[in-house]
């Protein structure tokens, strides 16, 4: 049984307040409370559980049951800083206990060694903030392993010749191979490539209180009703609650970090469900609100001492946003795949992880996966081949033929860090609380689009080799909708060119830490959550050590 959560008073100065309960916040709360600290997690969304989740596509996709709501928290978008941004939905993230890890697809790739040191290998790329990380793969490896074992990742060690070194195998075997996975594997091998079982944060074997995957197929955009998907909700949050020292406080929308006259964080100011204002006092603050909301909160926390936003002496808060590049090729086959069964992805390949810029003419690299992650209504409104009528007899027959016979080969790749790509505060638009709305500024680096085009050509080659009856791909266009939220408070040793140091401590405020997608220095090749979680385990270790040495009180 889960012990009763503590109920801390807001006036009670707890050891840590953690802003956000997603992939990073959940793990940091777990680790710090397991180490004896008193922790309050402030989550802006509600506390839903497995019993609240549903396969109802209207509730989930149209009513934004699990995500930020465009009416409550509208966004604006522009391509470049000289444009005036216009209102449109520009970012989606999980807005509930567990964050985006509740509704994600659960692809769990580690970064490779090259991701941390690629700038040194290739040299600078003009017009970008392409940099090395202040840590290496070897620093993060033990924490990747921790994620796999503690949070629950299925996969097969040693199956990919491109895999980085690992200290332990996966704790459980890969999920079953879907028809799309078999087709992908056979075609890729024909082409001389190296497909392998996809590492997924979905249980292939039960764990206490959690079922193994039942192959219902409602992963992307949906919460898992059986706890098989290793969301923060199903894993870290429950472990944090077990300590009896961690309070998860939902419906708590943090809008400012409180500071004392010496520029130290003293807690977090938030609105509760009734929009009453509170200050939760704490000895130190960790913000894990995601790569959009973390920089927004720092910018919202500007005061006389920090006129450009908190922890923003570098001027880089919100900047160097990377969304990951990508493309989707689609194939329709003669016989039913029934790929709606299962989960999204069972095979991937990393043969193109590191492309030689001198050979291909651009920077970048990525991976391909075999997937089908569409649910019936989503498929009927966006999954049919171009040119298919939108209604009537032909529409119906295309739907009836294709739903069970379609698979996708999705490309995932690098994004270069461009300074003007950013999240900032919109100067005019406000959210339902009267706070400045998030403004997305984004224009893909030309190399990112070249990479997506190049990878997509491989995906189409693969579908050809697989004997697809029909194939096509979605147009590769500049992105204007943010899902992977990376790099906006980047990590580094130099306070002039980064926001946090290698301990995730802000250069400017000694008891303020940031850990989530915003910490990433490079984008990886897609699928960032595994790295966000490994960073969170590592950050929690560093924060624990600093706290135990009394360095957070100085």
């Amino acid at each position: 049984m889960t012990p009763e959560q503590p109920k801390y008073k807001t006036s009670d100065e707890v050891d840590f307040v953690v802003v956000g309960s997603g992939a990073a916040g959940g793990i940091i709360a777990k680790e710090l409370s397991e180490n004896g600290f008193r922790v309050v997690v402030l989550e802006q969304g509600p506390y839903l559980t497995e019993a609240d989740f549903t396969h109802n596509e209207v509730k989930i996709l149209s009513e934004d049951l699990l995500t930020n709501h465009p009416k409550l928290q509208p966004n604006t978008f522009r391509k470049t800083p000289d444009e005036k941004a216009k209102q449109q939905r520009a970012v989606v993230y999980g807005r509930l206990v567990g964050g985006t890890s509740v509704h994600f697809t659960a692809n769990f790739w580690r970064l490779h060694e090259i991701d941390f040191v690629e700038r040194t290998k290739l040299g600078p790329i003009s017009g970008t903030g392409f940099s090395d990380w202040p840590i290496t793969y070897a620093d993060l490896e033990p924490y990747y392993t921790k994620v796999e074992w503690e949070i629950g990742v299925s996969g097969l060690a040693g199956a990919s010749p491109f895999d980085p070194p690992r200290s332990k195998p996966y704790p459980m075997p890969p999920l079953p191979t879907k028809a799309s996975g078999v087709i992908f594997e056979q075609a890729a091998r024909k082409l001389g490539w190296n497909p392998f079982p996809a590492p997924m944060a979905i249980l292939s074997q039960p764990r206490p209180g959690r079922s193994a995957c039942v192959n219902c197929g409602f992963c992307l955009a949906f919460g898992c009703e059986v706890g098989a998907k290793s969301s923060s909700l199903a894993s870290a949050i429950r472990m944090a609650e077990k300590t009896g020292r961690c309070e998860i406080r939902p419906n708590s929308y943090v809008h400012r970090i409180a500071l004392d006259a010496n520029g130290r964080a003293t807690g977090a100011l938030y609105f509760d469900a009734q929009r009453n204002a509170h200050l939760q006092k704490a000895k130190a603050v960790v913000i894990s609100a995601n790569g959009a909301e973390t920089p927004r909160l720092l910018l919202l926390s500007a005061n006389k001492q920090f006129p450009n936003g908190l922890a923003n002496s570098s001027g880089l808060v919100g900047k160097y946003l990377m969304l990951n590049s990508g493309a989707i090729a689609v194939g329709v086959f003669d016989q039913p795949l029934n790929d709606y069964k299962g989960f999204a992805v069972s095979r991937i390949l990393h043969d193109f992880y590191e492309l030689d810029p001198h050979k291909v003419g651009f920077y970048g690299g990525g991976g391909l996966d075999a997937r089908f992650d569409q649910t019936p209504i989503g498929f009927a409104t966006g999954g049919l081949p171009p040119g298919t009528p939108r209604w009537g007899k032909e529409f119906k027959s295309a739907l009836a033929h294709n739903f069970t016979r379609t698979m996708e080969v999705m490309s995932h790749g690098t994004s270069l860090a461009v300074e003007s790509n950013s999240f900032s505060l919109d100067p005019e638009l406000k959210d339902a609380w009267g706070l400045p709305a998030l403004r997305l500024t984004y224009k893909d680096h030309p190399d990112d689009l070249k990479l997506a085009t190049w990878l997509n050509a491989r995906a189409l080659e693969l579908l050809d080799a697989a004997g697809a009856q029909k194939k096509w791909s979605f147009p590769i266009e500049e992105q204007q909708f943010a899902v992977h939220l990376l790099g906006t408070c980047r990590m580094g040793n130099d306070a002039k060119t980064s926001v946090v140091n290698a301990d995730h401590r802000t250069h400017d405020v000694k008891n303020l830490f940031l850990c989530d997608g915003s910490s990433l220095v490079t984008s990886g090749r897609g699928q960032p959550t595994m790295t966000i979680e490994a960073l969170a385990f590592r950050a929690a270790d560093r924060i624990r050590d600093l706290a135990k040495r009394g360095e957070l009180n100085a």
Partner: protein
Amino acid sequence: MTIDHNRRDFLLRSCSSITAVWLSAHWPALLSAATHARAAAQSPAATKLEFLTPEQAKEIDAITARIIPTDETPGAREAGVVYFIDRALATFAIDDQKTYREGLPEIQARAHELFSELGKFSAASPEQQDQILHSFDEQATSDRRPYRPRAAAESFFDTLRLHTIVAFLLDPDAGGDPNGVGWKVIGREREHVFEPPFGYYDKNYPGWQPVSVSNKVKS
């Protein structure tokens, strides 16, 4: 603690047992929309409408029957789409009432404009009906935009098209057509717990083997 926690614990215990037990979620408004549609489909008597007048319902039924027509397999009509839409407009899709109120007369006017002898859409032949609807459908082919925010349907026809698809394909156990007609048509089995093999191509798959091993097997 709260009832929610007890329900969660119950769910998790159930699901951790040898066979996974599926518990469907509770969405009162949608479930009642579905129950309503089922009652309508099964009962020969006229079903009580919540929002639409019987005359409006007849027109909506005729339009949805062109969006997903009945041919060798059942269509919108057999799935009770009009009853789902009616209940939706009285409950969770209340914001769309105005669109329907204003849009339906436009369709009737267009019907009359194109075929002067016609007083009502429902009185037209299927070919005429398609022609009338095509005159409202500017986009004609699929929009091919997954993984992006879909703009809310703007016109009455777009709204009705979307509602028809939703009513036809919503999970029958989570508020959709309880007879599961739409899922049968697209070949989506109604269950939510599956075991491999899932389809044709993975039926005889021997399991993953390293390249060297599988090459040896081949040679």
